[in-house]
């Protein structure tokens, strides 16, 4: 088990709130976690996890460019050290964070009327989708 990572992810998911701040919190946590995870796992897996981290970080950029104030509103997430044997559970925890961010983005896209914000949301969703695929390896 990875109680620390799983617990951190659950806490973040519970306290993320709604709208843009929630998307940012969850995406940022997924990006930081994926960067840490990529270094911990064997390189054969770490390459695709690094790609996932890039996608999540780009999604975070998109949120910050659309709403710069989100950086201030939410506590930065910190994942503790990870044992290699716990990497599978850690990956699942990060995937759940990204999935939740995607759900928040899809919900927001239903009501967002500003075209530029809508475009930003689309880019965020696209990065989250591809990031999740790279993180979990579920390409096929």
């Amino acid at each position: 088990m990875t109680p620390a990572w799983t617990h951190t992810a659950e806490t973040l998911a519970r306290d993320a709130g709604q709208g843009w701040p929630a998307i940012w919190t969850l995406t940022q946590a997924a990006a930081i976690g994926a960067l840490n995870l990529a270094i911990t796992v064997p390189l054969g897996v770490g390459v695709s996890v690094s790609y996932a981290a890039m996608d999540f970080r780009e999604a975070q950029d998109e949120v910050e460019w659309a709403h710069p104030e989100v950086r201030a509103g939410t506590t930065a997430s910190v994942f503790g050290p990870l044992r290699p044997e716990d990497s599978g559970q850690a990956r699942d925890a990060l995937d759940r964070l990204a999935a939740l961010a995607l759900t928040h983005a899809a919900t927001l896209a239903e009501t967002e009327t500003n075209l530029a914000a809508q475009a930003a949301l689309s880019r965020v969703m696209a990065r989250l989708i591809t990031g999740r695929a790279k993180l979990t390896g579920r390409w096929s």
Binding site: I32, L35, L43, G46, T75, E110, A119, S122, M125, A126
Partner: protein
């Protein structure tokens, strides 16, 4: 009465529906996926047609203004470039093949409404561009510029879904090669749309100044040569970033990710087992390449903590991701060690891989200089919350910024780690490759062709 705005709103709604389908559901058959890709092309073609509609009356309105000025206004130049780029991809046949079939996917419905919006607009103007209605008479060039800006947003929204569409197509069983041919990475189109969205026109350049890199030739039948081309373009692009650009950080991050990929795939090609934990203590041969990939990973992590305050105006993303895809094709991570001597095809791939490793070291030199410039000119920003507590406690200004959740200029202590890692990855990995070379050469029969040159490899 249906208005132009209604039709655009319907288009946006269909695009949103398409995006949600990609996010939540998969294609059930390859045929369904290919239909969606065809409809996606149709939407891009509709965007090009609509851009033309918005362009021509605006051009007519500007003749008096632009006759004595050099070139077109930047937004029109960007619009024309976008139309040309889309049509080079979707083809020029009329009607576009996607228009012939009954629309089924959200992408096809979006094209339909966008084309309808364009037709509606056209009915307000005569063949020579003269207004036929009071509404058209009140429209100014600013109105059309605003329309182009809105279309730019829509285009970027659509382009953002290229990669998820490719992913879903692969999931549905469409061969990867086919997906890569139809959805090769349309990042260059997204670049062009930024010219439409820009509120402050970019300065007009002299004719020679606008000459950029030669557009990439897609060499789908020769991935090794394609990889070489891409890497050379990336080296050129990263060298250009060492200039006065202030938005280089996003590119540095992307290239750090590619650095991981290049060295990992090179290690796999030379027989490293990447499924096991890293070998401890060894820094030679394939394990040296693994060690170098790990350094790039740490650099990627270090760079990711800095904030990119605004979208970059230029991106190397397309070439970087294409190179990563080619690496996966040429040297899969589970490549496994092959007994020497290798085939001539393998030697050719080896040359391309060696070249990529070498070019990454060159790129690290350029990027180290760029990072150093960003650090010295205080263009690196970091959330104060991300700084170590001991550093914050020593500096009251940082402590206040942390309490106020602000982004601050990155202090030297925060930039030092990345700078040191750049120094590390900029060292040419000749030693690592030589060791692999020696290991491979030993069991080869006398006179066998050398697998790897012992000197620095340059791309063909």
């Amino acid at each position: 009465m249906t208005t132009y705005a209604d039709l655009l709103a319907q288009t946006t709604e269909h695009v949103r529906e398409g995006a949600n389908q990609l996010a939540m559901d998969r294609f059930w058959t390859p045929h369904e996926a290919l239909d969606a890709i065809g409809d996606y092309y149709g939407l891009l073609d509709a965007i090009a047609s609509h851009t033309r509609r918005l362009l021509w009356p605006a051009q007519l309105g500007r003749i008096g203004l632009t006759r004595h000025r050099e070139g077109l206004p930047p937004i029109e130049r960007a619009a024309i470039d976008l139309v040309a780029a889309i049509e080079s991809i979707t083809g020029a046949s009329r009607p576009h093949p996607s228009q012939i079939s009954t629309p089924r996917s959200p992408w096809a419905h979006a094209s339909l409404t966008l084309r309808a919006a364009g037709d509606l607009l056209a009915t307000h103007y005569g063949p020579g561009g003269q207004p036929r209605t009071p509404d058209a008479a009140h429209a100014t060039t600013a109105s059309f510029d605003a329309g182009l800006a809105g279309l730019g947003h829509l285009t970027r929204t659509v382009l953002a879904h290229e990669e998820p569409l490719a992913l879903r197509a692969i999931q549905a069983g469409v061969p990867r090669g086919l997906v890569a041919r139809h959805l090769p990475g349309l990042e260059q189109l997204a670049e062009l749309t930024r010219g439409l969205e820009s509120e402050t026109p970019r300065p007009s350049k002299a004719h020679l100044d606008v000459l950029g890199q030669v557009p990439p030739r897609r060499r789908g039948d020769d991935p090794a040569a394609d990889l070489a081309d891409r890497m050379i373009r990336l080296r050129q692009a990263t060298w250009e970033l060492t200039g006065e650009r202030s938005d280089a950080l996003a590119s540095l991050r992307t290239m750090a990710g590619l650095g991981v990929a290049v060295h990992a795939h090179a290690a796999a090609f030379y027989g490293a087992n990447l499924v096991r934990p890293d070998a401890a203590g060894r820094v030679q041969g394939a394990d040296g390449l693994v060690r170098r990939a790990r350094t790039w990973q740490r650099l990627h992590q270090a760079l990711s903590q800095f904030a990119v305050l605004a979208p970059p105006t230029a991106s190397i993303r397309e070439d970087a991701f294409a190179a990563a895809t080619l690496l996966g094709h040429l040297a899969p991570i589970d490549h496994g060690a092959a007994a020497a001597p290798l085939s001539s095809a393998d030697r050719r791939i080896g040359q391309a891989i060696n070249g990529a490793v070498q070019v990454m070291a060159d790129i690290a030199v350029h990027e180290g200089a760029t990072f150093d410039r960003l650090a010295r000119t205080h263009l690196l920003y970091i959330p104060a919350k991300a700084l170590p507590r001991e550093l914050v406690s020593e500096q009251p200004a940082l402590a206040i910024a942390r309490l106020e959740h602000r982004v601050v200029q990155a202090p030297d202590a925060a930039t030092g780690r990345a700078a040191r890692l750049y120094t590390e990855v900029a060292a040419h990995p000749i030693g690592a490759l030589e060791a692999v070379h020696a290991a491979r050469r030993a069991p080869a029969p006398a006179g066998a062709a050398l697998l790897i040159s012992s000197g620095p490899q340059r791309q063909p």
